[in-house]
């Protein structure tokens, strides 16, 4: 009974607020990361030399640096050049920029996998270059990129736990504080882990539904 009260009065509220913070980290980062990733992926294929070099360097560094290093860089590094981000902003920017770099890889691969003829056919109908990319190439490329990009979103859910390291107290952070305060590491981290498992499973399920939803013959989800 004591355990139950402890859970209800101490653990549940703290973890709920942590979970809420996690969700507030994950959702904007997912949206921004994906949008930016698509843009970068398109620029890597269709950009001019300068843009290609620019986004290429961006992807190289953001995929090469560990995410944790990136977060510290945004939070504790940027003040050295006069930019002060709140823990929340540092985390969201860090997550968005990092996952965009990975998304762009999938988008780029997907665009490359689309036959050249699609672009030509679109142009032969009078589409502009951007029009063809937007209406013909991207709708196909995004379907192709979906499995990879979906995985990236799952990673984002898990890596959101690193926000705790730059003092943005989300689910893991609340868990750590609770666990150290009550010396209940095992129980608390089991609960925290279970919540992440739930989030990841829900997201996986949702992404599969989404893939089925946008699937057209020739672009079906590959069931394993």
């Amino acid at each position: 009974m004591d355990e139950f009260l402890f859970l209800r009065q101490e653990v549940a509220p703290a973890l709920m607020s942590g979970l809420w913070m996690s969700i507030r980290l994950i959702l904007p980062s997912a949206v921004c990361g994906l949008a930016l990733g698509v843009l970068v992926g398109v620029l890597r294929i269709y950009g001019n030399h300068f843009l290609k070099a620019l986004v290429g360097t961006y992807v190289l560094f953001f995929r090469g640096f560990p995410l944790l290093v990136q977060l510290y860089l945004w939070y504790f590094g940027l003040p050295h050049v006069g930019i002060y981000l709140s823990p929340y902003m540092a985390a969201v920017i860090g997550f968005s920029l990092c996952s965009a770099a990975y998304h762009s890889e999938y988008v780029r691969g997907a665009i490359l996998s689309i036959k050249k003829g699609q672009m030509m056919a679109a142009k032969s109908l009078g589409f502009s270059h951007t029009g063809a990319i937007f209406y013909i190439i991207l709708p196909q490329a995004i379907r192709r990129a979906l499995p990879g990009s979906g995985n990236e979103l799952i990673y984002l859910i898990k890596y959101s736990s690193l926000a705790y390291m730059v003092t943005c107290i989300e689910l893991t952070g609340e868990g750590k504080i609770l666990a150290s305060a009550y010396f209940k590491y095992m129980e608390i981290f089991m609960i925290v882990g279970a919540i992440y498992l739930l989030m990841v499973s829900l997201a996986t399920w949702g992404l599969n539904r989404l893939e089925d939803f946008v699937a057209v013959p020739g672009f079906e989800r590959i069931h394993d």
Partner: protein
């Protein structure tokens, strides 16, 4: 040829694993001092990559006097007491505050240094201690520190509504005060002095209520013999001229 190279790789990996495991349980005859590598001037890593600081010098002197071998092992502060109890390290000489909570877990030598716990704010800030403790204010401190325990137990649980921000190291907390992202940091006077020496635009606004704390070396409860050795060493050190030399060298007063 192919098989050979595969076997080579397997061999290398095995060696690495064994080597790693070996280093984990070798060196039994040496007393390992677990220290916070980010707490200058007491303990830190110097330019050449070696442990350095007031406590390191002191321990080295004591070890020489009391004839034991010592190795200094950087250890994460938040996990330092569990590490000591688990036997991963043998003692902690790293500017550690003697607190009742810690005394329940480990034994301390007699105090060798007293520090004042202060609230540190940005140089140009117009804040009083009272204002810093108002709702919505953010106070940063070292994760797992005595300050964090005291502020939680004596302030937050008594109805104060300021927010605590936890950092991996003390310098990071002070840095964030200078960055203006938190209102204040709860640190010791020596940590403040160190930061100011490095040119950080911060200042003290005085004590926040935590009694002045004494630093001592922590030892496992069962290692009473070693505790005696350390206490004797400390007494000898304080009596010797080297003590004043140390204080001067690390600019402690």
């Amino acid at each position: 040829m192919k098989k050979k190279s595969l076997r080579m790789i397997a061999l290398i990996i095995t060696c690495m694993l064994l080597g790693a495991a070996g280093s984990a349980w070798s060196g039994a005859k040496v007393y390992i001092n677990g220290f916070d590598a980010a707490y200058p001037p007491f303990t830190f890593i110097d330019k050449s990559g070696k442990p350095a600081g007031f406590d390191i010098d002191a321990v080295n002197w004591i070890a020489k006097q009391m004839k034991f071998n010592v190795k200094h092992q950087p250890t994460d502060w938040a996990a330092i007491v569990p590490s000591l109890k688990a036997g991963k390290i043998d003692f902690i000489a790293s500017g550690m505050s003697i607190t009742p909570e810690r005394q329940a877990q480990v034994n301390f030598t007699e105090p060798y240094w007293q520090v004042i716990q202060l609230l540190v704010v940005k140089k140009d800030a117009n804040l009083t201690v009272k204002q810093c403790l108002e709702p919505g204010r953010k106070i940063g401190l070292l994760r797992g520190s005595a300050e964090s325990k005291w502020l939680t137990d004596h302030m937050l649980k008594k109805g104060y509504k300021f927010e605590l921000r936890f950092y991996d190291t003390t310098p990071l907390a002070i840095e964030d005060v200078a960055n203006g992202r938190i209102d204040a940091a709860a640190v010791s006077n020596t940590a403040l002095k160190e930061a100011r020496d490095k040119g950080l635009p911060v200042k003290s606004i005085g004590r926040y209520g935590q009694p002045d704390v004494n630093y001592g070396y922590a030892v496992r409860k069962e290692d009473t013999g070693f505790l005696k050795t350390l206490n004797e060493g400390l007494r000898k050190l304080k009596a010797s001229p080297y003590w004043q030399e140390l204080i001067k060298k690390w600019d402690m007063k």
